[in-house]
Symmetry: C2
Subunit: 336 residues, 2 copies
Amino acid sequence: MPAPFSDLSGFRALLQGLPRPHAAAQAAARDRNAQLTKPPGALGRLEDLAIWYAGWRGTARPVLERPQVIVFAGNHGVTARGVSAFPAEVTVQMVANFQAGGAAINQLARAFGAEMAVHALDLDRPTADFTQGPAMTEAECVAALATGLQAVNPEADLLVVGEMGIGNTTPAAAIACALFGGAPGEWTGRGTGLDDQGLAIKTQVVAEGLAANPGRDPLQVLCALGGREIAAMAGAIAAAHALRIPVILDGFICTAAAATLARAAEGALDHCVAGHASAEAAHRALLSQLGLPPLLDLGLRLGEGSGAALAIAVLKAAVACHSGMATFAEAGVSDC
Amino acid sequence: MPAPFSDLSGFRALLQGLPRPHAAAQAAARDRNAQLTKPPGALGRLEDLAIWYAGWRGTARPVLERPQVIVFAGNHGVTARGVSAFPAEVTVQMVANFQAGGAAINQLARAFGAEMAVHALDLDRPTADFTQGPAMTEAECVAALATGLQAVNPEADLLVVGEMGIGNTTPAAAIACALFGGAPGEWTGRGTGLDDQGLAIKTQVVAEGLAANPGRDPLQVLCALGGREIAAMAGAIAAAHALRIPVILDGFICTAAAATLARAAEGALDHCVAGHASAEAAHRALLSQLGLPPLLDLGLRLGEGSGAALAIAVLKAAVACHSGMATFAEAGVSDC
């Protein structure tokens, strides 16, 4: 596991020391790909994914057998402002649903052979309303980052992080706006189903949050405008990088968490692919800012890691083809 | 199994008598979907897919446990004209690769739990060069349709049909152009990797084929401009419809086969979804003509059923969520 940290400086140091992929393994994977029994390039993005995955796993012919899905849950003081179509108690109810195996993410994890973990972060202590000051103290943010870091199974060979937190597209919009600029309305969407009036309130709340928290250092943005489950996702994504475990990013909230890392340290997301483009309006813009083209585009906007869990299948397919196919020489097939 | 047929009229009769989905099961599935523990619509296209699948399977809470992948192979007289980057002997070499488990489709079928069958159709007797007259006699076409029909496992609960046939984007382009009009060049692409000169020759060959075979009845187009593996895919897709087995369409060649059915009988493809948009230029246009939006868009252009096999994962995910998730009442979660 990566070294523990006790303050934000310690986490910054972790980000500055993240490893690069294995260049030799990546080159060997590229060479193998060119010999497989298919026309050059005919497997499209599956080929790029397999080569990228091989680089992070450090072998030209990797396997993908132990994907892990972690769902982090948190509550948000800002829900008191009416930013969600669902009441805040749904967070704890859905955590129980995850634990009982009844949510969408449970079915997806099972369908694609992923182990699943659920971490509820102080649900009885919502973050502070960020329109009145920072959502979290530095100590609270660091604790959430550490929870995320510790949640990663070092034996996993692929990681999906997801979230549950009623109201959490609001902090995600505030983070995206703080990091990338533009008007609050450009980053604010309907979440689980806000009407026009709710959307207007939410946009106003994001604007107030940005005004009340003027700092723009990416990790301070995470503390001031984020939430515990958002910081935990950031911690888990960073830990996976340290462990050379590739990550599939989920939707808008997960990507906002990841964006704080990308802005804090160059290359911090090189071990990540975007699992899907969410129907939440600003997700596509956020992925574009990060240079991460989505694998899937099926109109999902559920969170929980669901879009990324669906993309586990794409990664599995890519690795299965790459490592399982015969070469032209092995199969006695004429090359072009 | 659907009734056998001995001529094209018999196959036409089969197409005219195809069943509709179960309206009651579909309605019950829609009702169940509205009660699942997620915001309304938050699973996007997965929700539509599950409801569609439920209608064809005749139950509100279906399972998807026995997908079948069938790969049909055929050879084409038109390859003598230089329409492919690969030599014609690759067809039989790749059939051996399928049988040995070394091709991309083998890895994908295994990854998603599909049984796989391979049918090589008279590889030592290529179809006639369609620039000189019909590629197949009616009897040859009917035999290939029947091979496709008989290849479908009636116990399967999902079908993918794929193909292998060096040169077969040429008949596919000719079929698409014959059915939907436009210039031959609009339907002709680079296949496995033609250069500019090869593409010009291929476009000319398609134009000559259309001129040499002026009939535009969809099933006569299939005989005159198709190939054995293309007709076999059409036969399998029709048989699946008769058996209420949903089908995932693959790329350009598979979709061209399906298009002949769509033009021959209204609703003939109602049991089909488009698995992906191929990188072969005209596939997107063909899907658009058929009103079938693709599930995936990952730049694949391999054939073999590979894009559709990848989309098995999407269908599995949709059905797993739909049939496995808890309702709001079961989970004690507050509805919005």
